[in-house]
Symmetry: D2
């Protein structure tokens, strides 16, 4: 059983209503948890910003194999202490899947070491064609050589990330941009996947192929247990 | 002084005339050598298929720092012995720049170990937008974040290559494809760069940005001298 | 069920007896197949040089998920036609595990594109300490941070391989050498792992940790089915 | 002219004397700056912890092409504000060379995203043999296939770093450890090199090969000017 926690900010400091509710009546986190729960080998819970400790207590993280992260306008409200805690668990082997605007989150920035907030974007709801660059990668399992999302926010290069350890997808947009839309990194014992689709006012998380990618990514990022190194002063062997 | 040899098949077994002559009256090789010669630190010669040993004798290769390779319909006519000779020089430190349809050449296939002939293509002369994915790479020096080639053959993924050691460019085409269009690999002491533009009936090699990329690539692929390893049976140190 | 074929040259053109028989009475191939068969999810057969088509017919390869390769003094006797066939299956998704002196085989050379025969070596039967460089890698599953093989042939850098896609192990030898001893590459749909231990006159294949690594590598290299790309001339999408 | 700034903590909160003074009478920073100044194409200045803003003001960084970093027991005393400033300059293209115990510095941790403090170590002043793993890399220019430092602190794996973009050196120690001792990464427009030798009580920075590596690394990490991306909301192209 893979224990997943889906984190979503689910809070808009400027408005009592979430824009996402028009598309995802129970929030993005519940929409994602819901399709993951359809897989009997996955157990999915959710957590959100306004819960105590953002719902990411030490206990929750200890029981999380893979954490999904969606955030947009409240990145700055995430407590540094929680970011440190999440970071510690990732290095020990908890998987992390960063979705869409999560690229600007504190945890992704901390793991990457670059200005991951930096990319081009425009909100026109254009077609998003996702090309499979590494068809042998487990995250591409079951996909054709490309798939289309009819309406998405456009993201474009240059995206300020370290070179991915594996580049799985590149997105094409009719307005002329390309974007490294599926990227894998290893940090410590943890596996990290960034996936570009998922604007809050568009139904991408209902898309069958998007769901397949996220399900594949959960399996790829999963480790059966946390790891630890021997470090510090040792004797000559 | 960087000593460059530009190789072009420059032969059409089906026709007495080269299609490329309409655009490049002296052949693709002379067009490329010509703009390289405008750089006083580069010394460029050419070689073609129908010369003895395809113009790539041991002596020529010994005096070549960087070899450029353009071929299309005569890949099978290149003698295995010459391919072995070129391969040996690349592993010892001669740079190689593979242009456009050179992806299907014997030497590129031999260096990569995959079916590099495999990619999607169609000849519609559409726009080719080249995005800089690695703006800090020497081959991207002096470029904006993207540049346009008004008319090119379309190449699309999946392209069956080993993961590039560095991915410098990704191309966008209006017909919906993306393509890893600037890729670097290291093999032995040699540096290899593949660059996608350059269809024989289109004037891409006159494009200022294409010329800049090729000039940058020559500098990147250049090594001042050949290298050698200590190998074989050795004593315990 | 993972279907494994263990290939061994098992032939010495200079002598009617195999040196390996003193340590592996039924040959290296049977020793490896034997410990793999102890895993109920693996089905292991063997093949050797002197069988028709070296035991690697189209039918055998079609029914092989992961091929293991041990060879030493008869690399040149392996027919090019069989090498082409094995290569085709690897690019389509058959896994390949190259053991010890298999680094100089035609198939490994063909996949890597470099002079993989080139490395330092001496046969003193010294200690071989294998360090885990990537403890989060599936091939390192269940290992401590290093393990010792009491007696092995010494291999040393420089080893002329393309930069591994993942570097899992580095070996230490008391005579002063280091060696990249566990290396992963992806070629087409296939996964390739090179593992350094396994001299024919030493009992390394009985070592519990060596067996664990090979078992892990079989699981890592396994794909449930062959893959295929869309390639060639396509229409604009 | 390459403008280098060599940073050294040069302060011991527990003692009025620096242990390094016995070996480097003017400090490690002056020893390094001194041999770099012997190269007429390098202009080297120094900066230390107890200077205002640790000697790393905005003005100094603007005039620095490559920053070298040596620190050991005062990592926690480096102001976060200065770390942010250095980070910003690295992402814009300033090179960074992290020496020895600098692996535990705030800036290296911030760039890597892992617990770079984690490695094995013991101070026995044993031989340190540095093997060249990537002989074609500019940082290995002019070296034999390995070189020896007679006495160094022992560092051993596992070292908790992201997989290097290029692995140039691996160290061997007679006590049985190996260590990835020369590692390159790219972050934004900046190039980062970690080099393992350089314990404060041992004369490694007087070693001819160590000096050559550092000089090579300065050249490799140098960019003629800072870079910048187009980011943020853009129009459809």
């Amino acid at each position: 059983m893979i224990r997943v926690t889906v984190w979503n900010e689910f809070y808009n400091p400027h408005s009592p209503t979430q824009p996402e509710l028009a598309v995802y009546p129970e929030g993005i986190h519940e929409a994602i948890a819901s399709f993951l729960r359809a897989d009997p080998s996955i157990e999915a819970r959710t957590a959100t910003l306004m819960q105590p400790e953002h719902g990411l207590t030490e206990e929750v993280l200890e029981q999380t194999d893979v954490l999904l992260w969606w955030g947009h306008i409240t990145h700055h409200m995430v407590a540094d202490e929680v970011v440190e805690r999440v970071h510690k668990h990732i290095l020990a082997g908890m998987g992390l899947i960063v979705l869409h605007s999560g690229h600007a989150s504190k945890i992704f920035h901390k793991l990457m070491g670059t200005r991951t907030v930096d990319l081009r974007w425009h909100e026109d709801g254009l077609l998003n064609r996702v090309w499979v660059i590494d068809p042998a990668h487990p995250i591409a399992e079951g996909l054709d050589d490309h798939f289309d999302i009819p309406h998405e926010e456009t993201y474009g290069e240059h995206f300020d990330i370290p070179t991915p350890d594996q580049l799985v997808f590149v997105s094409w947009f009719p307005s002329g941009e390309v974007f490294r839309s599926g990227c894998c990194w290893h940090r410590g014992f943890g596996r990290i996947f960034f996936f570009q689709p998922g604007h809050e006012t568009l139904p991408s998380f209902y898309n069958e192929n998007v769901q397949r990618v996220i399900n594949n990514a959960v399996r790829w990022a999963y480790r059966p247990k946390r790891g630890a190194y021997i470090t510090g002063e040792t004797k000559a062997l």
